[in-house]
């Protein structure tokens, strides 16, 4: 009995040491903060490990949250690469010296229009176009017409039928604000947002989220990037996609190297891989339908192509400016969001 007791103590310590020491000391690793959908984020690790043998450790958070984390850790970054998410925060991160520009190996193959729009601030990863996802049955039941233009959203028939994300947490929502300001001018854009604010059922935290309620028939209109809608539609949800008549904005999804990255070489290898055709096809396999930046990547059916839509000339540099961005989001937070909808 005493033997047993003494042994138990040692077993206990052994178990403790074992639990504490597992998961330490991994050699070749890259830490990625990931702001695309969870499926895509989760698919990256195994694919990259297979291609290069380097382990990927991923934390997936929304774009603004990622910027917040990177900024908080600026003096001593945990992450090496920031993968995906709308471009404006990537631009802001570059301006604030949180990230640095790295010329990826496949740079010459990347889409010239995407490169021209952002210059040497971050690496274009994909292009996504803003649009409406609609659930025709819900609109029909309500006797509401299908929205064709941004201005249609103010129609009282859509009361409680719209979902869109909150710019305080979602890059998508900021792209929306910047788009509307570029189309209508700031005052009119805010008037429009105020008028359709009354129709919004809920502002979601994540930019992708409106499609959930849309697919389940809980709302009729979701404002978000079309490629996320395509993915949902392919899964069998009864939704359709509309491009607004006044023209629409887009994002150039970003890929950035964190300044002061601890695993810089691995991070660069990850970035080279991420914009290679092989890396970009990982997204397709995870059900992603955004237009990849590498022109050599063979496309799949269903990807919304910029050629088919009326796109505005999105001024990524102006609207990526941190001060303007903060001002617009603050203005939205103070002037639009608190207005009651009852």
């Amino acid at each position: 009995m005493a033997m047993w007791k003494r042994n138990v103590r040692w077993w206990f310590f052994a178990a403790l040491v074992l639990t504490m020491s597992t998961g330490l000391a991994q050699q070749r690793v890259v830490n990625v903060i990931c702001s695309v959908t969870q499926n895509w984020c989760e698919a990256l690790g195994p694919a990259f490990k297979q291609a290069t043998g380097i382990d990927v450790r991923i934390v997936s958070v929304s774009t603004n949250e990622a910027l917040a984390r990177l900024r908080a850790e600026q003096a001593n970054p945990t992450f090496d690469v920031w993968f995906g998410g709308t471009g404006d925060p990537h631009y802001e991160a570059f301006k604030d010296a949180i990230t640095e520009w790295y010329r990826v190996k496949a740079y010459n193959d990347l889409s010239p229009t995407m490169k021209a729009a952002i210059g040497t601030t971050y690496i274009p990863l994909y292009q996504g176009i803003l649009g409406f996802g609609i659930n025709p049955k819900v609109l029909q039941d309500r006797g509401a017409p299908i929205p064709r233009c941004w201005k249609d959203l103010a129609n009282p028939a859509y009361r409680g039928l719209i979902q869109v994300s909150n710019p305080n947490t979602s890059g998508t929502a900021y792209t929306l604000i910047a788009t509307l300001v570029q189309i209508f001018g700031e005052e009119e854009a805010f008037n429009l947002m105020r008028s359709y604010h009354r129709n919004v059922a809920e502002y979601t935290r994540s930019g992708v989220a409106p499609r959930i309620a849309l697919g389940r028939g809980e709302i009729g209109i979701g404002i978000q990037f079309m490629h996320d809608l395509v993915e949902f539609k392919k899964q069998g949800f009864p939704i359709e996609i509309v491009a607004p008549c006044e023209g629409t904005g887009y994002e150039i999804g970003g890929l950035s190297l964190v300044r002061g990255a601890k695993n810089k070489a691995n991070g660069q290898a990850f970035m080279d891989w991420a914009v290679s055709p092989a890396g970009q096809q990982v997204g397709f396999r995870a059900g992603i339908f955004s237009l990849p930046s590498n022109t050599k990547t063979p496309l799949i059916e269903g990807i919304p192509n910029p050629k088919d839509f009326k796109l505005i000339n999105y001024d990524a540099k102006k609207y990526g400016d941190p001060d303007l961005r903060t001002r617009l989001i603050t203005r939205w937070t103070r002037e639009v969001f608190p207005l009651p909808r009852r």
């Binding site: 403790l16 639990t19 504490m20 597992t22 998961g23 330490l24 000391a25 991994q26 830490n31 990625v32 959908t37 969870q38 989760e42 450790r57 991923i58 934390v59 997936s60 958070v61 603004n64 949250e65 910027l67 917040a68 984390r69 908080a72 850790e73 003096a75 001593n76 945990t78 992450f79 409680g160 909150n166 305080n168 947490t169 919004v200 059922a201 809920e202 502002y203 979601t204 994540s206 992708v208 989220a209 499609r211 959930i212 309620a213 697919g215 389940r216 028939g217 809980e218 709302i219 069998g236 949800f237 601890k262 989001i329 937070t333 103070r334 969001f337 608190p338 207005l339 009651p340 909808r341």
Partner: protein, 740 residues
């Protein structure tokens, strides 16, 4: 443990000192282990990081100090003089070491941690041997080390929150507080888009309830202070209710929510507690046993998640049965419903204690004197229950204010203080704004704790000492029992349905749209969620062990030892329990992000956050266990010249094994289900199950989220059942109260 050879030579006590062990640890750490770090990893071994290479003069001083103290401890020297030397030199070494870390902002390494702790232990031993403090060496050094931990990991982070709310970019300013407190996110009442004036309505409500309060207070006789109190309470409640209904913003919304949830939850808790004690039906007791388990094993936002299935815009009840397309769930309503489900068992566990403390003889006496049952209840039972009710009420208010997961999922477009802390930091990246929200929340909670003390501190309601007296409670009147049973049955039915929907949702393709059976979500969970679950279990397990050990030590010191600052240590250790999780999370990220205490981005900070979150429960569990152990046992051990460390090890720990085991398991379970305090702290390789689940649910992978919830609930249930089986074999029951 070394045998302390104490010999009396010419009346002067001299001998060796146990400080040599700490000295040896310090020496080895100084020579071999890294003093500082360049990065987050604590296991970075590089000769450049040794203290002698990093800061030669510091290394020289510390080595000299430690060597002298260790040597002198091994020699037979007068205790008192050497004690002073230990205190003086050890203390100086400790201060120099800390000073170097703080002034250079080099993150501490393993070596620094061990050296500083060892120096503190030596100071403790010195304090005791020199007679400055009348406790034995072990106790004194434990007090010092525990105080250091409480200071560093509870007081310092909270202080950082308060500091950041007034210190913007290094400059003291009240602008941030002003701009946050006037922001419409914080409070907004007037809405220019409506015809009526919301401010007027709020004022009317405030005034109305104020007058009502004053009137009620004046009913028992016109006494000034009483009426004024009634007026004040009425005005405050009136404003909260008015602003909650007609206005918006995080401040009134959170308070209003708490005011809705607390009375309902307390009432339900009382119903359950009375039923458990006095019901004649067996099924009632059995089901109540299950009820009390639920909050422990359920991740905090799972009820919210299940409610969406039933009452959401396309929920079964709202859409399929009633044909409504309503968003009523998303906002205060939904959060309130979810919180009632989540917190009722907590209120039940608290009230169970005070209901069981009632003495049946009092009620019997009242009945014998021919009082009507109602009269007995009103004049005997109710006053005795009041402290328990107040405790449950106030605790529910605190839980409601601190709750994070439910408002996150069901809050809709209302904002709440606890989620605003999170959004300010992660969405708007404004640490100062987050700090202001955190400070507001912290103040509210502290005010409520103060109220509790004020309210309950005045009157003593103790009627029972030790075990309840003999006698049986008269059963409840039949109609009342029926009513209460119906309430319980309905509640139980709702809970069963909610849990069932999670199980169901984890086995179908797309819940409500494509209800065909699939194992897909479990396959996904195995691939994507299993490593995260294992990591979470690992971190939770480590934190549970540390929390139990530190909690045990603090409980022992606080309840069995007399020393200066005992009250402070107790309050300090309880502070982290009162602090809302999001505030603690923000505090940790603000306090440990840079400088000498750099810990963010590691698994260690998650472990620490969980340790100091769950430790208070262990402390209370052990205190209540200790109160049942007669002090004479320890005195006997002490008289036989055992130092208190031996008494602890050989006498108290064996007697307290059930409490320690329960504390360990509950700390583990709470660690697994925690979200608010750790959502900021996840890092690469340290993903946590609850955070992943929240993200899955938010992005629409509801089935996967449901599968994760199912696995967690079943896994934790198994753990708890094993605990019950084990403690039954040990022959002692386990009280769930310790886990609340």
């Amino acid at each position: 443990m070394a045998v302390i050879g104490k010999t009396s030579l010419k009346g002067i006590a001299s001998g060796r000192s146990p400080a040599w062990m700490a000295g040896l640890v310090a020496l080895v750490s100084l020579l071999v282990l890294p003093w500082g770090r360049t990065d987050r990893s604590l296991l970075e071994f590089d000769s450049k990081l040794l203290v002698l290479n990093q800061a030669p003069w510091l290394g020289g001083v510390l080595l000299a100090v430690v060597a002298v103290l260790t040597l002198s401890s091994l020699l037979h020297l007068p205790l008192v003089q050497r004690g002073y030397a230990l205190v003086g030199l050890g203390g100086a070494g400790f201060l120099v070491g800390v000073g170097w870390l703080v002034s250079t902002s080099v993150p501490f390494g393993v070596g620094a941690l061990l050296v500083l702790t060892a120096l503190l232990v030596m100071v403790g031993i010195g304090l005791s041997e020199s007679g400055i403090i009348q406790n034995d060496p072990f106790v004194t050094s434990s007090i010092l080390v525990c105080s250091l931990f409480v200071l560093l990991f509870i007081a310092y982070p909270l202080f950082t929150v308060l500091r950041e709310s007034v210190l913007v970019k290094g400059v003291f300013t009240l602008n941030k507080i002003q701009s946050v407190l006037t922001s419409p996110l914080f409070i907004s009442i007037e809405n220019p888009y409506t015809d009526h004036s919301e401010q007027l309505l709020v004022n009317l409500t405030t005034l109305g309830l104020g007058l009502l309060g004053a009137g009620l207070a004046a009913r028992g006789g016109l006494r000034g202070p009483r009426v004024l109190t009634g007026l004040g309470v009425g005005l405050v409640l009136g404003w909260i209710i008015g602003a909650g209904i007609f206005g918006g913003g995080a401040f009134p919304t959170s308070l209003y929510l708490a005011l809705i949830v607390a009375p309902i939850t307390t009432a339900l808790g009382l119903v359950f507690a009375l039923l458990e004690q006095r019901s004649r039906a067996v099924w009632v007791r059995r089901s109540l046993g299950v009820v009390s388990l639920l909050p422990l094993i359920t991740p905090p936002f799972v009820f919210a998640f299940a409610l969406i299935y039933w009452l959401g815009r396309s929920g079964i009840i709202t859409s399929d049965l009633l044909g409504l397309k309503t968003s009523f769930l998303f906002g205060i309503n939904g959060v309130a419903i979810a919180q009632v489900f989540a917190f009722t068992p907590v209120a039940f566990l608290i009230l169970r204690g005070s209901v069981q403390g009632l003495n049946p003889a009092l009620e019997e006496a009242s009945t014998t004197l021919r009082a009507h049952p109602w009269q007995t209840f009103r004049d005997i039972t109710w006053p005795l229950l009041r402290p328990g009710l107040a405790a449950a009420f106030l605790l529910t208010i605190i839980e409601s204010l601190a709750d994070f997961g439910n408002p996150m999922l069901l809050g809709g477009d209302r904002n709440f203080l606890s989620t605003e802390v999170f959004l300010a930091l992660t969405g708007r990246y404004d640490p100062n704004e987050a700090a202001v929200y955190g400070a507001v929340l912290l103040c509210l909670v502290l005010v409520i704790f103060g109220l509790q003390r004020l309210w309950l501190g005045n009157t003593s309601f103790v009627t029972v000492t030790g075990k309840p007296g003999a006698g049986n409670f008269s059963p409840l009147p039949v109609w009342l029992e029926r009513t209460l049973q119906t309430i319980l049955a309905l509640w139980g039915l709702a809970v069963v349905l909610l849990y069932f929907s999670i199980f169901f949702g984890s086995f179908v393709q797309i819940w409500g749209i494509n209800n065909s059976f699939t194992f897909k979500h479990y396959v996904d969970l195995t691939n994507l969620g299993l490593p995260v679950l294992l990591k979470t279990a690992q971190l939770a397990f480590i934190s549970a062990i540390i929390a139990t050990l530190v909690g045990f030590l603090i409980a022992y010191l606080v309840s069995r030892q007399q020393f200066w600052g005992r009250g402070l240590l107790e309050v300090g250790s309880m502070l982290s329990f009162a602090t809302p999780g999001t505030v603690m999370g923000v505090a940790y990220i603000l306090a440990f992000n840079t400088g000498p205490w750099l810990l963010t981005g590691t698994g260690i900070i998650i472990v620490l956050a969980l340790v100091f979150r769950n430790m208070p429960a262990a402390v209370r569990g052990v205190i209540s266990g200790l109160s049942q152990i007669d002090k004479s046992l320890e005195e006997a051990s002490t008289l036989l010249r055992a130092p208190s460390s031996t008494t602890l090890r050989r006498v108290l720990i064996p007697l307290l094994i059930p409490q320690l085991l329960a504390g360990l398991v509950f700390a583990f379970v709470r660690g697994m289900t925690a979200i608010s305090q750790i959502i900021f702290l996840i890092s690469p390789g340290n993903a946590l199950a609850t955070v992943l689940m929240l993200r899955w649910i938010e992005q629409g992978d509801l089935g996967r989220g449901a599968a994760m919830a199912t696995v967690m609930i079943l896994g934790l249930l198994t753990v708890i059942l094993i605990l019950f089986a084990v403690s039954r074999r040990l022959g002692r029951g386990t009280s769930l109260e310790a886990a609340v």
